[in-house]
Structure formats: structure tokens, C-alpha cells
Symmetry: C2
Subunit: 524 residues, 2 copies
Amino acid sequence: MKHLSEQDDIEFEAKFSGKEEAQIRTRLIALQEKIREANIPVIVLLCGVNGSGKNAALGTLRDWLDQRQLGLHAYERQNVQKDPVEFRRYWCDTPINGNMGIFVSSWYSDPMVLHAYGKIDDDELYKRLDECNIFEKTLAESDAVFCKFWFYKNKSDQEAFLRALDDDTYEKWRVMPDDWKNCCMAEKFEATTKKIIRYTDKEYAPWIEIESEDFTERLRTALNTLCSRVETRIEAMNKKKEKKAEEEKNPPPSPKKPHFVKTLNMEASLSKEDYLEQLPYLRARLNALLMEVKKRNKKVILAFEGPDASGKGGVISRLASSIFIRDCNIFPIAAPTKEEINHNYLWRFWTRLTDQKLLTVFDRTWYGRVLVERIEHFATEKEWKRAYEEINHFEKQLADGRNIVVKFLLYITKDEQMVRFKAREETDYKKWKIGSEDWRNREKWEQYDEAFDDMLEKTNTKYAPWFVVADNNKKYGRLQTMRLLCEHLEKVLDYDSSDLIPPPEEKKSGSKPKKNKKKKKKNT
Amino acid sequence: MKHLSEQDDIEFEAKFSGKEEAQIRTRLIALQEKIREANIPVIVLLCGVNGSGKNAALGTLRDWLDQRQLGLHAYERQNVQKDPVEFRRYWCDTPINGNMGIFVSSWYSDPMVLHAYGKIDDDELYKRLDECNIFEKTLAESDAVFCKFWFYKNKSDQEAFLRALDDDTYEKWRVMPDDWKNCCMAEKFEATTKKIIRYTDKEYAPWIEIESEDFTERLRTALNTLCSRVETRIEAMNKKKEKKAEEEKNPPPSPKKPHFVKTLNMEASLSKEDYLEQLPYLRARLNALLMEVKKRNKKVILAFEGPDASGKGGVISRLASSIFIRDCNIFPIAAPTKEEINHNYLWRFWTRLTDQKLLTVFDRTWYGRVLVERIEHFATEKEWKRAYEEINHFEKQLADGRNIVVKFLLYITKDEQMVRFKAREETDYKKWKIGSEDWRNREKWEQYDEAFDDMLEKTNTKYAPWFVVADNNKKYGRLQTMRLLCEHLEKVLDYDSSDLIPPPEEKKSGSKPKKNKKKKKKNT
């Protein structure tokens, strides 16, 4: 018997003529150059059973492409299942603009196997495929090109292939523990595959099915299709860009009156005495609630937005002092780095959410997309209008993955901002906090009001609610934020902390009654 | 009873006068500006028991500094102990140039607690402190400034403090599970502290002991000392830089004759027939050995160096095809990014070694420091000469942490390089592999030979050996590398793979004897 890898039906060695190899390799290298120039990410999925040709495609691409613009990804299923936020790792692995990412196992692997094994039903399958569709759509809309390959191999060919591997001392390591099992269940896998392909074959991320008998032909088709699909998409994109530039010349119309300010009592304030009494109480209460969150194996993500000088830093600092530093990560979000700007705008938040601590606080957030990026035209109208839904879905995924997501808009009046800006300019150690950009933003106050209003209207969800806090008085704003957070956590956890941490009135036996306490609490 | 946080002896609120606060804050903000200008990392350690003032210092720095140039770090002891390579996380957390990193728990916490509890003896303590010293020295030599604070508090004061916390409903959460235990064992902790401080108080990273009775005084001393130490160091550095610029004007002398080439048979080659027969065998053998590595809960790290066009990519591709992609990470190392260049040169390798897969391959490595950086004067003579030891220690840490580290120098002759360069220029799909830089490096062939020689002499260690492979014949080079790797793994694992994977001679019953096999193997 000839050694397997010298036979024609084995997939490990490409069998192109020298001339054809040169042709394809030249095209692939040119393709990488085009991808770099277009500055877009390309996502290639190689799906299919062992022996279907996907490994040949993988090996060939690894050998022939410039590795510096290439990422290869495969996942252990048990690791995928360990992370409560499934798509986190896929998000973090999305290629940077100009690069190609090849995924051997992917977001389809787990639903595929679970459904074929009968561990999830059709409903659950489609629910998980919805996630895949949204993920791909979000990326495709920020110009990622998808090439999703499905390599077919029928049951008897699979069996013959596995047997040939098993019989060869030097190749049998290629047979993975589940390969025989999956081969036996080939009909089930075929049925699942059909459902998956039908449900996730989208214009923005179509499936390319590879079916030929001959391995060389499979590889040829795959490589050529990869090239032509990406080339076509890049051409289409370039045309679209020209058109987009035209459209952007007409500015969007009609600022409308913001609503959210009306509901706010901007006069709310707090005396120093009350502040000093309430702060330790709220700190202890928040601590108790966060410990309860920890006990339930959940985490908290807080998002802070607000005009410049609205006091976000001070509020966050008080919040953070409620727990030990090893349980807390604070991310101040500034302008994106070069690496960040060359990814989808959500990427820099996904990557900050790996290795999550108990409490994660974002000082400015992904809402930059619908605030500064909208107002400064860093995002097109289409882009920021689409973002509300993308952001809702982002937060939904986090919430579904054992996170409690709470968002705060700290608001001050335009007059109060001026007072604070002046104080910053006049105080040596605060000067760094104020720059020409802040003054420029101030001029667009009404536009920000409108953007805040849209944001609150479109993204105030049950799983990630907004709280608006009047912060003209810093003491009031700080405690009010902590109080709202405590109340929300108690509601979500269905947990009453008052036995453990009684309010100051109850703590002091027979203490003097506090005036106006209740009234102040109701401010949002 | 007054509420705790209104008393003077509580550490949570700073008690400076408005004027003094303004003074210190102005100085701190100016300090951050200076650090940014000097483009150096500053590492601040806050050590001491609960109530010693370290939390006050932490909270104050968090409130008063510009968070965007600040990193805060604290570690859960159980997580630290889980990673077999202890310093990996500390390395990854080192601040980028221009930033300050504050560590509340640190590399001293674990040895401290273990020694005080009697779980490690003096010998083990000092061994672990040696690691701390080397870590700090390596960073200090690339201009990191250390401020290591130790806040003292005697046993009776600790006890009073903990009791006060415990008695206050709103503050008792600050008492951590081990606080009372550690307080009881205060004498043991004091003895351990003395040893730690004496052993790790170095000129490049001295300890600053904070002992005052009064909390405000402690904080004042800590903040002022931080400022003055960093200011002084930056001044000293600026002076040193001028001097360094002078020294660098005198180029280093005397190239010497390289030795390693002499031991190589550059004529070694392999026929296509032999290659096709041996490749599947070596692939299977390597796979079996890697599975054995996995079983023993170890990992493999491979480093590849060699002249341009020496065939590293081809070798790595063959190696990698011995295991499934999900078990393997390949890192092609190019010029450092802006973020990487603003860290110690080892940082970009440490960060690539988090989430390690079974096999990690570096296509070019940390040896760039003593190769291209030496020859192109990107590193000063002092820097690259120091690097041998730093690199040995880096690899030692990896090897001690369940890694098998193996290094390959793939070598070709200058004539063969010319042949390959020309082929690259003449082949469309290989043109991208050749640029002016490659031609420039070629002109410095003799300097690289010398640098290779020094590298082999100084870094060929038992825990991370070098293998030099003649690669004028690519087929020979590929298989020779795989064979050497297999042999080394068998030796290290004390494991014979030949039962599982017999060599081709034995596999075929009564096969024709191969000529010259043995001779070819002995080439290193």
C-alpha cells in the first residue's frame, strides 16, 4: 500500500501543477495587498468534517499567505462553554482592519454539535443562530467581508477516510475522539447543517458550499472563491464609499427639544452634614450588595456618560471606594488608539471585558458612537443610527452572561458647567482637565442634549437601564448615584440589605428625625 | 460616639488644609507631566497591613491623579498561585512608558504571607525574593522608577483599629477574613517584614518606610516622598542620557571569528523520496510527544532565529502541521508597535504568553535584542550586553513554570541566501518577502555571525538549549529540526515514543535498508 500522503485522495498535500500553484499564490498575495489597502477585516470560516478538505484549505492558506496579516483561530468546545458571554472571545478575535482571520471552529460549532446530538431543539438552535446572524451583521456593516465555507463529505466517504487514517501508524493521530461518533451520526449532522445553512445564509455573509469529489478540485474552488468574493466586495465597497461621500454633504436637519431634562430637579442638593452621615451608610450598603452579587456568581458593569465636568470621576471614585481594589476595574475611555480605530467600535469594550472583575466601571463608554461620534461626524448618520440596536444587543449579551448592567447619565446645567470650567482654569492642579476640546463641545450643548435624549429613548432597556442624575450639587449627585445603584441591585437580586446595613435613622436608636429625606430620594 | 470617618485616626479621609491639599495636588499633577515627558514607567508599591495608611494613600492617589496615566493593580492570592509562571502577570501589568502603575498587593505579598505563616522557610523566602530583585532590576535598568512603600503599624494599634472597624456597622466590611489572624501573628509578620526589607532594599528600588503615628502625617510623607524620589530619578536619568550619547560615539571594536559555523555540515541534504518517507513519521512522532507533554500538564515554547530567508517559515509550518490548530499559536515577530516600544523589550513576549496553548512558536524572538538591536544600535552596548542574563532569567522562569523551552538557529551560507533572495525577486508571489532591509542586513553578515556566536555562547542553557540546523537544503533542515525537537522532548520527558510510532525502517517489515541515515542525523 502506498503511503497515505502520496495518494491522490488524501487532503494534506495540495496537488497543483507548478504553474497553477504560482497563479493561485500570486492571486492570494495580491489579495492580501488589496485587503490592506482597503483597510477592512476579512473573516474566513472553514467548516466541515475531518477529511472534507477544510484542513487542506487551512494548511495551504497558512503556507501561502503572509502570516503577519493572518490570524488563525480554533476553540476548545469546553472553553467556549465555560464563558457565560459566549461571543466575547469571538469579538476579541475579530481581525484588525487589513488582516484576515481564519476560524476553523467557530460560533457555529457549538450549536451544530449540540443540535445534532439532540441536546438542544430547533427553537434553541435558531435562537443561537440569531446570535450568529447579529454578530456577522454588525461586523459586515462596518465593512468586514465574510467567506463562510462549508466542506461536504458524505457518510461512506467519511468512513473510508477515517478508516484509512486509523490504519496508518503515522496518520491516526488525526482522528479526533468524536470523529467516529460524528461519522455514525452523519444523517443527523446533515440535517442540522441544512438548517444552519438555510438560516444563516445572508447577503452580507453567504455560505459557500464545497462539494466536489476530488480534493484538488475542492481546494482550487475554495481558494479561487475566496479571492473572487473578497475582490468583488472590495470593489463594491469602494463604489459605495464614493456614494457615501456624496450623501454626507447634506447635513441632517431639525434639532428637537430634549425631554429628559424636564424630569430632573436640577436644584437638588445635600448639606455636608447629611453627606457625611449618608456616605458611609451607602458605601456599606453597596458593599453588602456587591458581595451578594459575588456570591451569586454574577458581575456588575457600570457605564457613565455626561457632559464635560459633570462629575463622573468623583462619583466613580466614591463608588469604587465601596470595595477592595482587587475587585474593581475602572476604564477611563479617551479617543481610540490606532489599533482600536482599526476594529469595529465595540471591539475596545469587548477586549476590556475579558478577565472581568466583580465591578467594571466605564468612565465614558460605547455610547460615544451616538454622542461625540454622531455630533463630530466621526460616524456617518447611517452608522450611528444603526448603533442603538447594536449597542442594545451588546448589552443584552452581557446581561445574558451573568452581568448586571447599569448606566448613569450625570447631568449638569450649562451654567454650572461654566462655573466648573472656570474653576478648572483657575486651579493649578485642575488645569489639565480642561482644554480647547471641552470649550468646543460646550458650544454644541443643544446637539448633545438631543443626542442624550435619543440615546435614553432608544437604549433604556430592562436588561440595561439608564438612570439620569442631576449633579449640579456634587454631594447630592454622588450619593444619589450610589442610592439608585443600591436600589437597582436590590430589585434585580430581589435582596433586602437593610437587615445587614440599617439606614442611619434606624441605626441610631431614637435619633432626631431627618427632614426632607424622602423628598430628596425621588429625583429621577 | 462620633462616626469613625469623622475621627482623626481613621485613614479614609485625608485631613489636609485646603492650602496644603492644593500644594500637593499641584505637585502630583506636575509629576505626571514630568513622567510623561521623560517617557518612563513609574512603579509604586503600597505594602502594609489594614489600617496602616496604605489605603489612604491609594484612595488619595486615585482621586488626585489623572486616571488616564494611572494603572491600579491588586491580585487575589489564589489566582497568583494558580499560574505556574508567577511573574507573568506582573510583567504584563508593568506600566507603559509615561504612566504610573500602583500595586496594592504585589510580588511581595505571597512570599510574605507564606513565610509568616511558616509555610516556607528562610531559604525558600530568599529564593523568592531573588526573583523579586531580578524583576525589579531588569525593569529599573530600562529606566523604570520604583517607589516601594512599607506602611508600619504596631500590634496594639492594629488591634484597636480592627476593633473600631468591627464595631461600626458601616465600616466592618473593611475587615478582611485574614486581618484578625494576621494581627494576632503580628510578631511573625514583623520578623518576615524585616527580612524582606533588608534583602530587597536596593539602590535601584529602595524601600521607603512610613512609620508616623498620625494618619495625615503618614499620607503627607508618602505623597511628598513619591514626588521627590521620582523627580530626583528623572533628573539623574536626563544627565545620564547626555553622558550615554557621548559614549555611544565611540563604536565597539574588533569583530572576532564565529565558531558555530565550523561545527555545521552545510552540505547536508535529503532526497525527495527520503523526505516524503520521513515527514509523516516525524509528524506522528512529534504529535505523540506533544500529547505526552499535554498529559503531563506542561507546555512547549519554541524560538526560531536565523538569517533572512533561512527557511524559518517553512520549518515552522511543518512543525505546526503536527498538531491541531487549536493547540498551537504561531507569533511572527516584526518591528515593535508603538505600545510595545514603550515597554521593556521583554514585555511583548510576556503578553503573548498569557493564555498559552500547548505549543507556542516564535518566528524571531526576544533575541532580537542581541541581534538586530545590537547591530543596528537600537540598543546601547550596555543594554544588549545585559540582555543575555535577562533573557536567561526570562527563559528560566518559563522553564520553571512547566514549560519546555527549545531554541533553533536555522543557518544558511551567504551564497545560499543570495540564491534565495534572487528567487524571491523573480517569483511574483514571493516578492513581498524581500525588501531593502534584507539587502542591508546581508551586508552585515559577519556582524550577525559574531552576534549569533555570542548568543549561543551566553544563552545555551540546560533549561533552554539552542540547536543549530544547517538549512541550505530545505528538506534536510525541516526534518532535522523536527528530529532534534523530538529527541530533545524524549530526553526531557524521559519517554520513548518508538513503541507508539516506530521509525519507517521498522514499520515496513523487511524493508530495504536506508543508506547514510545515521550519518545525517549527527549534525549539530
